[in-house]
């Protein structure tokens, strides 16, 4: 893994540095032959060297490693731009088609994340700025079945939540998922185009959900969803004690160890209705302050809420139907890693603005469904949010050196 990364950096440097200089020198030699000689040539060469563009150097150097135990794009802090792309295998696809598709994607993703175009890319300049690109591949039950691998029990559509769901087929399901994330929307778009066009003979795009986060996200500037709420505050310690909440372990199918699952739900926001709500009521609905994201019972954004606290009239300070209370884990395993992105499709139905809710966990039925069930039964936020899409995918383990993504499915 380390070796590939070094190779990646080396390639990027070599492509921008010496080669450009060589071209410049060649041009000089052609133009000034017979005039510039001796020391004069050295001076001219000095002048011709442009000041290094450090901004571009940084963008080019920001290549994330592709190879490893886990796929990239899960543990990293989410970069500001993303596209979630679901594809369906063509009718008649067989085991060999699945294997070939994953072979193409493995090679293409390794090249794209390193800042190189895929083999057939006639515009590799669009790939030259990796911008922390990660591409994460998920598979649905049809792919697992065609490969002949054991299907995890949870790899199926989530149970219905009839109280809230207004699911549309155009935002739900799919045989394959690409989660494409980067710090540049151009990088995301190019990767999406090449990865879908490169397998167009094998699979067709079913839906695309583009998302964005706060590009200036950092200390003091949290991720806010388009209801203005600080989002994704409570996360399990997935690089430490809670790692088994994220990665499929020995109790899962062997081919999926080191993999995970992802739930992608498209949550429309009824902003016209939200606009009519005063600020205190908004904070009451979620159970958190809008400014700091801290619980309404006080403290900071990461302070646990005091769910028992009551006001002078004896009512709970955190409303009995507040999102925070209803989403609170009733057991330690009811937690998952959230990686949400906002979306704004400009115009269209009321749900053209909202949140691409993205949750990674080892077992969505055990970890996510109990929480979602409580929220469906009662959550003040349901007055302003409408789930219009839902999909579940098995997230393949990482490809180590020489491996193809998902190759253990074919073992």
């Amino acid at each position: 893994m380390t070796r590939e990364h070094q190779h990646t950096d080396g390639t990027a440097t070599a492509a921008s540095g010496p080669r450009r200089r060589t071209v410049l020198l060649t041009g000089l030699a052609g133009a000034g032959a017979g005039v510039v000689t001796g020391a004069g040539a050295a001076v001219a060469r000095e002048r011709a060297t442009p000041a290094p563009d450090l901004r571009l150097e940084r963008a080019r150097a920001s290549a994330r490693p592709f190879r490893g135990e886990h796929q990239a794009g899960i543990l990293e802090a989410p970069p500001p731009y993303a596209a979630f792309v679901a594809l369906d295998l063509h009718a008649g696809a067989d085991r060999d088609a699945v294997r070939r598709l994953l072979t193409v994607w493995t090679d293409d993703i390794e090249r794209l994340t390193a800042g190189r175009g895929p083999l057939t890319d006639l515009e590799p300049e669009l790939a030259a700025v990796p911008a922390s690109l990660t591409v994460t591949v998920g598979v649905g039950p049809r792919v697992v079945g065609l490969a002949g691998a054991e299907r995890p029990s949870w790899l199926a559509p989530l149970p219905a939540f009839p109280q809230i769901d207004k699911l549309l087929a155009e935002w739900s399901g799919g045989d394959l998922l690409l989660q494409i994330c980067a710090e540049s929307p151009t990088t995301v778009s190019h990767a999406q185009r090449r990865l879908t066009a490169g397998v167009a003979d094998l699979a067709a795009v079913r839906w695309v959900q583009r998302g964005f986060r706060e590009p200036f996200e950092g200390p003091g500037v949290p991720m806010r969803n388009l209801l203005g709420q600080v989002d994704g505050t409570v996360q399990p310690d997935v690089t430490g004690l809670d790692a088994d909440l994220l990665w499929v372990g020995d109790d899962g199918p062997a081919w999926l160890r080191g993999g995970s699952s992802v739930v992608v739900r498209r949550i429309g926001m009824r902003l016209d209705a939200w606009d009519r709500v005063d600020r205190l009521s908004r904070e009451n609905a979620i159970g958190r302050r809008l400014d700091t994201g801290a619980p309404v019972t006080g403290g900071r954004v990461d302070t646990p809420a005091d769910l028992e606290a009551t006001d002078e009239l004896g009512f709970h300070v955190v409303d009995d139907a507040a999102h925070l209370r209803r989403a609170h884990a009733a057991a330690p395993h009811e937690r998952f890693l959230r990686r949400p992105y906002s979306y704004d499709d400009g115009t269209g139905p009321e749900t053209h603005v909202g949140l691409v809710f993205v949750a990674y966990q080892a077992d969505p039925v055990r970890q996510f469904v109990p929480v979602q069930r409580r929220l469906a039964e009662m959550d003040l936020l349901n007055l302003w949010t409408v789930p219009v899409g839902s999909a579940v995918f098995a997230v393949l383990p990482g490809a180590r050196s020489g491996e193809v993504l998902g190759q253990a499915m074919f073992a």
């Binding site: 080669r19 083999l119 515009e123 094998l202």
Partner: protein, 192 residues
């Protein structure tokens, strides 16, 4: 042995040339020399290396389908990539073969007197200079795989052997879907 390609391809050719100048720094992970290096297989001892090589896929339904021009279909494909010569002597590629193709030819793209771009067989072969490279690309020089005997499926690999002045070199080349390069091929223009 002439083929006419459209004006849009000429634009594409310019783009490709610019791209190659920028991005040819990839390493040859996909293809390996297997026969001309004396079995060592390491890049330094290989007579000829193919970097970022690929062959355009041809789906089964296109095999034997009537050609747009109404003549007999000639299922064909092409190999692209960058031939690299790490040795101290020029290497001339004079021809080739592949188990999936009845005929393998070396093609170049030239501008005719009328300004159209045409593909034709390259007389004298491809010369890969000592320590240098020779680029095979859509709209430029390429290795034609003709009279295909089987579909070339996206994501598979095909063996292609080049006959060179340093001996035969066999590459295992990835097959990739590519929507460009769809010029029809008429071995005898007058027959249509």
């Amino acid at each position: 042995m002439h083929q006419t390609i459209s004006a849009t391809r000429r634009v594409a050719l310019t783009t490709v040339l610019a791209a190659v100048a920028l991005g040819a720094g990839g390493c040859g992970t996909d293809t390996t020399d297997t026969s001309a290096s004396g079995g060592s297989g390491t890049p330094s001892s290989a007579a000829l290396v193919l970097d970022d090589g690929w062959v355009k896929s041809v789906d089964a339904p296109r095999m034997g389908a009537p050609s747009p021009a109404g003549g007999m279909s000639m299922p064909m494909s092409a190999m692209f990539g960058t031939l690299r010569n790490p040795t101290r002597s020029d290497i001339t590629v004079t021809g080739g073969s592949s188990p999936v193709a009845g005929t393998v030819q070396l093609h170049e793209t030239v501008k005719t007197a009328s300004g159209a771009m045409q593909m034709q067989e390259k007389k004298g072969g491809f010369v890969v200079p000592a320590g240098g490279t020779f680029v095979l690309q859509p709209g430029g020089n390429h290795v034609m795989l003709m009279e295909l005997t089987a579909a070339l499926t996206n994501g598979s690999t095909v063996p292609v052997t080049l006959t060179t002045s340093a001996g035969p070199v066999t590459f295992t080349v990835p097959v990739r879907a590519f929507s460009g390069g769809n010029e029809t091929y008429n071995p005898s223009p007058s027959s249509s």
